[in-house]
Amino acid sequence: MTDITRRELMAGLVAVPAALAIPQDTIQRATEHAHAVHESEAQAAAQGTPAPQPAAYVPQNFTPDEWRLVRLLVNYVIPRDARSGSATDARVPEFMDFIMGEFRNSQTWMKNGLTWMNAECRRRYAKGFVSCSEEERRAVLDAIAYPKKARAEDKPGVDFFNNFRNLTASGFWTSRIGVADLGYTGNRPVMNWEGTPANVQRWLGI
């Protein structure tokens, strides 16, 4: 498969062999629209998108206590490993803060769930989740992270964690870090679509 990335298109790094017989206007148009997209992004950036300053970020839809808990929880869901960074590296809490502002109904399950987490920790250990030890935190997470095994009385925690895990995944896997980790290589102009590559056909056996 011959494919050309936006960056290569824009930088003019791609020499297309004539043997591929790609219609010239395809390349020209692909180049033009890639430029157009690039320009609009550059304009947006120039119009005052703030420089990233993670330490200075002030959440709009979480209290300081909630924010500490969220920042801790997302990394229990998706931690750093050998292949890629953590949920906080991918700015998942900031993403959640944005989503809570856009979909305000979601604040109900989020805030009730965070409250449940702390209440459960206080019931068990007489302190909030943030103050618990690693072992204590894991005991609470183990109780709610596997819906089929969970006890009926933990259902509010299970429902919350299903939602929280989904939202963490949405934020992480759509970030630059997440997309690179997955190895997603689409959403770019491909001059000749050749279907399933030979190595994948061999792997599949079809």
Binding site: P23, Y76, D81, T174, S175, L182, N187, T196, L204
Partner: protein
């Protein structure tokens, strides 16, 4: 299509659009090639874009200030687009011709009605639409799935190869899809570059939406006047009962306006056009325009639909590659059985989904359904990696038979924000639909089992309607101003011309006599082109 054909033939045309401007070739409008991290929303929906922030289509199931009502017990969702190009900005581009049998169902099984035209009447127009707009597919020679003038179809993706093999084993016909996406240059448009994001609006015009494939060339003739944000109220008529133009509200100012016309073509979508007709009451047309027979609003149908998805262990850890392809399935299963041996009268086709698509908001939601049953931490992170691309889903799209409990009418008390009476919907599925959808569910479950997979959800019960989607949800409403052989039981003659007002025509899904298990767009386009040719011919002969 009518604006394109008529301006090309030399007519001066005014196009009223209820929404705003749109140009999918401009980066100002189209989000083609944007990555999820280019937006803090990560592709999630907005109030004006329920299918996601980058979806081309502005509209929705509910539009502020433009309500519709439902009879008690009716479940019905009405999608409306509010933008230049309308619903052609919102579709899967599955472009199927109706087959010879689809025009004469009553003759074959006694249900519904025959069309006043045959496949052979429409075939030349389907051919012209293929040539003008472009479509990929393959020559198959199937009896009720007529072949077109196809560009080459793209090769199947990895999971589609597995589905194809599975269908072959189960004797289910499985062929390359037929989508209005071009795979070689056509009429100055570049071929598809396989970014997989057709729904965002194609900046190279490599797929079909009327905005840039029809309206832009029509504008280039210099004979098309485009008025956006114009909400049509009614077709006005003179003392002789003939149409004199259209009154509309300028949504920018709220003012009432009128445009005079010698000929009026309604193409506002089936139910919206019928609403305009019903609101066009006068002493000569006391029941509304084109409604002497009382059929406007009746014979409403939508496509039946249900979905089943499953986890396919064989696809776990699929080697990474670009599996995007075009913005739709590369294969499809046309109706392959004989209804005479089944407990439902009409067929359905199957669409397939899965793959390694662009991560977006909602990515792999419900990970707890996979074998590990949830979790957190490094193991969970690994689950997302290995299960990405290991889900395959099937959607059935079937033919509904029109019934007398399913129709729309003017609500006697409710109006929209401009005081225009709104539609009230009545909708009822019958056993002909429930049994068909049950068959879809069973077939999809068998397909997933044959692939060695596990279905995510239990088989829905009869009480759950076997998982049938609400009326309107598939966005194929048709038939509310049907054509026919007699003015006693139809609104339009076989040229989509109103029986009781010869200078009013319809060019959307309203004229359809039956659904077929095929997406209606290609037939709407062919009918519209045929109607346009009739208008041109009649004008030239001085009869209109």
């Amino acid at each position: 299509m009518a604006a394109y054909e008529l301006t090309k033939a030399g007519a001066r045309v005014v196009l009223l659009e209820a929404g705003g401007h749109w140009d999918n070739t401009s980066a100002q409008y189209s989000a083609m090639l944007k990555m999820p991290y280019d937006s803090p929303r990560r592709g999630s929906s907005t109030p004006e874009r329920p299918f996601g922030e980058w979806d081309a289509c502005i509209g929705g199931w509910q539009i502020p200030g433009e309500p519709y009502t439902k009879a008690e017990g009716t479940k019905f969702d009405w999608w409306r687009a509010r933008m230049l190009g309308g619903r052609t900005n919102h579709w899967g581009r599955i472009s199927l011709r109706f087959g010879p049998d689809d025009f004469r169902r009553k003759s074959l099984d006694g249900l519904g009605d025959d069309w006043p035209i045959t496949y052979n009447d429409l075939k030349p127009w389907y051919d012209e639409v293929d040539k003008l707009i472009g479509i990929f597919g393959s020559i198959e020679g199937l009896p009720n799935e007529p072949d077109g003038l196809f560009h080459d179809a793209p090769a199947p993706r990895y999971y589609e190869r597995l589905v194809k093999q599975t269908c072959d084993r189960m004797n289910i016909t499985c062929i390359p899809a037929r989508l209005s996406i071009i795979t070689k240059p056509l009429n100055g448009r570049a071929p598809c570059h396989y970014c997989g994001q057709c729904n965002r609006g194609c900046m190279t015009n490599s797929n079909f939406s009327s905005t840039n494939v029809l309206i832009t060339p029509a504008l280039r003739t210099g004979r098309l006047r485009l008025i956006t944000n114009a909400m049509a109220r009614e077709v006005t008529t003179g003392e002789d009962g003939r149409a004199t133009g259209v009154s509309y509200i300028d949504k920018n100012t709220g003012e009432d306006r009128h445009v005079r016309a010698k000929i009026v073509v309604l193409a506002a979508s089936s139910c919206e056009s019928s609403r305009i007709l019903l609101n066009s009451k006068s002493s000569r047309h006391p029941q509304g325009l084109a409604n002497s027979s009382g059929v406007v609003g009746k014979y409403l149908t939508d496509t039946t639909g249900t979905d089943v998805a499953g986890f396919i262990p064989r696809l776990v850890n699929v080697p990474r590659h670009n599996a995007d392809g075009v913005g739709g399935n590369h294969i499809m299963m046309p109706w392959w059985l004989d209804n005479r041996t089944l407990d439902f009268p009409r067929g359905y086709h199957i669409e397939v989904w899965g793959g390694l698509g662009m991560p977006s908001y909602g990515f792999m939601g419900g990970i707890q359904a996979y074998p590990e049953g949830g979790g957190y931490g490094p193991d969970l992170k690994q689950q997302y990696r290995k299960y990405w691309g290991a889900t395959v889903g099937f959607s059935g799209r079937g033919e509904m038979v029109a019934n007398d409990k399913t129709f729309c009418e003017l609500d006697p008390t409710v109006t929209d924000r401009w005081g225009i009476p709104v539609l009230k919907f009545h909708f009822e599925w019958r056993d002909s639909e429930y049994n068909q959808v049950k068959h879809m569910q069973e077939t999809f479950r068998n397909l997933i089992a044959e692939m060695g997979g596990e279905v995510w959800s239990p088989m829905p019960t009869r009480e759950q309607g076997y998982g049938i989607a609400n009326g309107g949800a598939i966005i194929h409403e048709l038939g509310t101003a049907r054509m026919g052989a007699s003015e006693r039981d139809s609104a339009l003659n076989n040229n989509c011309q109103a029986w009781d007002c010869d200078n009013v025509f319809l060019a959307d899904g309203g004229p359809f006599v039956s659904q077929a298990d095929k997406n209606p767009t290609w037939t709407i386009l062919a009918l519209s082109m045929r109607t346009s040719a009739y208008i041109i011919e009649q004008r030239k002969a001085g009869r209109l």
